[in-house]
Amino acid sequence: MSNASALNRFLTDVEQRAFRMARFAVADTDEALDIVQDAMLTLASKYANKPEAEWPPLFFRILRNRITDFHRRRTIQKGIFALFGTRPAGADDANPLEQLSDERHAEPDFRAQLNVTTQRLEAAVAALPARQREAFLLRVWEGFDVAATARAMRCSEGSVKTHFSRAVHALRERLEDDWP
């Protein structure tokens, strides 16, 4: 039972950040919720017996894999529909920033809670390349050190440093008007 309470505590701590990370990556609230739920269930069913200290990188590695699966499915889906000369519902080749903005028009609750600065930050983070965004959010938001981030991203520590540095510079350039 202590394992259950520890897992509950851990998931309570990370669930909102995990959702936001997933939403940055897939730009869809329902898909992001499904991805987070799947990651939670996988952690509980396969890795709950691991030491608690290993849960954070494991959980975010699972989350990242689910996000990758989502993009893989979406790519295949687009390929199939392109083959038949049709487009899947909701498919859009528009700029991701504009797409994110459009979705928030459709979600008044989400929009109402964010001020302009936060919206601009989230749009800029969402527009980062996936690896840069992962490295940035895991380091800044989850507070992972370089080694834990490398484990979660399944890459070298050098790659983490490179992705993180590029992400910081890209965000500073995009947000220089809001972040003096």
């Binding site: 909102q16 936001r20 069913s45 989400f110 600065t117 800044v140 910081v168 500073r172 972040w179």
Partner: protein, 112 residues
Amino acid sequence: MSDGRRVGDEAFVAQVRDVLDRSSVSDDVRTRLAAARRRAVASLDAPVLRPPARWVPVGALATTLLAVFLSVAVQRPPPLVDEQQLATVEDMDLLIDLEFVAWLDTDNVDAG
């Protein structure tokens, strides 16, 4: 990287972290996340449904093949000679003689 730039990056990162921490998700999302968490935690107590072991499909195939073999073996072809009739033949020499006469009748008459 210059010290000024690094300090600037650190301040920027701290500011980003602060903004991200202050932003929140909607009540609906929070509710759905809590439900997902409860399901995940509850799954710890659920019985583990193990996937079938690798030998199970092989065993199933072997069992099927054995069943097919046995069913074919049990359905023996009808006997060429009526067994009941064969059982009533008291003198096997008579049966052999009849076969010999039949053979003579077909081939060896012309040869002779």
